[in-house]
Symmetry: C2
Subunit: 313 residues, 2 copies
């Protein structure tokens, strides 16, 4: 049933070289009530299996195998996400990615912000969940200028004190030392311009945004609760968890890099309970990109319900 | 701490009009062994709650509420996906979307194929899981020409007979009548050019691709099992399920549009068991886009594990 004409037609075209085919751009749009939310992909970082604590190795193995988490010799592939939350003319960015602090697999927030239709100058407010490099470095350019020249930078006072002071650094182990300098450098251009704002737990930072204290991963770690309408809410929870395949099912499992592991577990349980009970939208910095969705109860623990891709209306 | 200079800088820029901000393009790339797989988003279709059968309404309500499925008055938002599977120079398309058969919320396969770096002329093989409009209409242009001018079109003989013959149409209810004409029209340009191929259950269609009979939704409904390497496999399963929030947890629940609901349940259970037991990659036409991932056992039933977004290496 083949004809010569057909066979030649079938071989006449130049085949596409699949090696050159890349991934779709790293942004994702979701309207939530009055808010237009854009998830931005900064990149991936490997998180070592050995840094999961307060859980036995066998349980970890069963959970990650069952959930098909990509793993290399360096650890589990873990996303780093940031979020633009626009309300009317107000353009707020929660976390800013890694810039050049952690190597070439990260640092794509600005590229993806532009791909998503924004310019860095559009951002008027930068809210940072905590002062770690993959959230904070991106507020500055590699040359040390403000990456968001029109923005006010908001950071919990407890994290400003901890990560830019000398006291904690003096006690910190060697691998943590660079983090202090990175935090100081990132904040510097905003501090110099009088555009750094400190806040405390439970404060209303800007209209419609509540700072929810979720300490443990760092002393000032904060989740931001956005009013999206009369009843709808979006909680951008930062680093409430790091190992999604493990810590929804076993919230008591903790991360070695947490400043206070017990407190981090308490914050995680509290915020998961509230998210599930209230049906809040959730955005997580280390949930699989876009990291938008909901938390549901699953017996004594929780499960992640990722947003469904769809057209934006 | 505000300065006049800052306030004016903050208001000088033109705010981005969020109403004009769209969704990221509808493609997603994943390497699986030797294969480069590209998911293509055709659009969304509402599937009515009332068309879910063999399950009580209360269980459905609990499942969909818990899984935050977007729902309008017409039904649950349900994705329509197609897949390009490239192996070396060979460019295979599984299912082709809806073209103009089902209105303006669908018909985006060609646009997203181009966004993903392919041209319709690159496709040498079109494999269609079954002869319904949202899988088959897209093989033809609205003018009745072959949309993939260099491709051979493969369709199960049982579906060619059923959907282009007169016998089944004579017995079919009124709402199903248009489907027969749509199937005839879509196939026509390939049949006229001698480029339509029928196949039977269990046949090796092209090198490295096995036709797995999964009948029930239609008489000839087929899933395609791709060899991706020595042990890795990708099963593109078409319409093995339609209501992901319900039918993984309750595989016995069926869809009113299934030609044979009991047979569809049997095929669904069989293919979910095999996918979970073998750790196959799965691609599903009505799973949330990109619809790529794995099936895991969850007690007596199953759960969907979506792929994680990441860079393509």
């Amino acid at each position: 049933m083949f004809s010569v004409a057909l066979l030649s037609a079938g071989t006449a075209h130049a085949a596409t070289d699949s090696a050159t085919l890349g991934q779709v751009p790293g942004y994702f749009r979701q309207r939530i009530g009055d808010l237009t939310v854009t998830a931005l992909f900064d990149g991936v970082v490997p998180l070592a299996r050995s840094m999961l604590k307060d859980i036995d190795a066998k349980t970890v193995s069963a959970l990650v195998a069952n959930r098909y988490v990509p793993e290399s010799k360096d650890g589990f592939q873990t996303a780093v996400n940031a979020y633009v939350v626009q309300h009317g003319d107000r353009v707020m960015l929660v976390d800013a990615g890694t810039a050049k602090c952690f190597g070439p697999t990260l640092g794509n927030v600005i590229t993806n912000l532009r791909a998503a239709g924004y310019k860095p100058e559009d951002v008027d407010t930068v809210l940072v969940t905590h002062a770690h490099p993959d959230h904070l470095c991106g507020v500055a350019t590699p040359q040390g200028a403000a990456a968001f020249p029109n923005a006010i930078l908001w950071l919990a006072g407890a994290d400003v004190d901890f990560w830019t002071g000398d006291e904690a650094q003096a006690k910190a182990p060697a691998p943590m030392q660079p983090l202090f300098d990175m935090a100081r450098k990132a904040i510097a251009p905003y501090a110099a311009a009088g555009r750094l704002r400190r806040f405390g737990p439970g404060e209303s930072i800007v209209p419609g945004v509540l700072a929810v204290a979720t300490p443990g991963h760092t002393p000032g770690h904060t989740s931001f609760l956005f009013e999206a309408g009369r009843k709808e809410r979006l909680l951008v929870w930062g680093d409430v968890l790091h190992y999604h395949a493990v810590q929804f099912a076993r919230p008591q499992a903790s991360f070695e890099a947490d400043t206070d592991r017990r407190l981090a577990v308490r914050s995680r349980l509290d915020v998961m309970r509230r998210s599930a009970a209230n049906g809040w939208w959730v955005a997580g910095a280390h949930l699989p990109f876009p990291g938008l969705g909901h938390v549901r109860r699953e017996g004594d623990a929780f499960a992640w319900v990722p947003v469904e891709y769809g057209p934006v209306r």
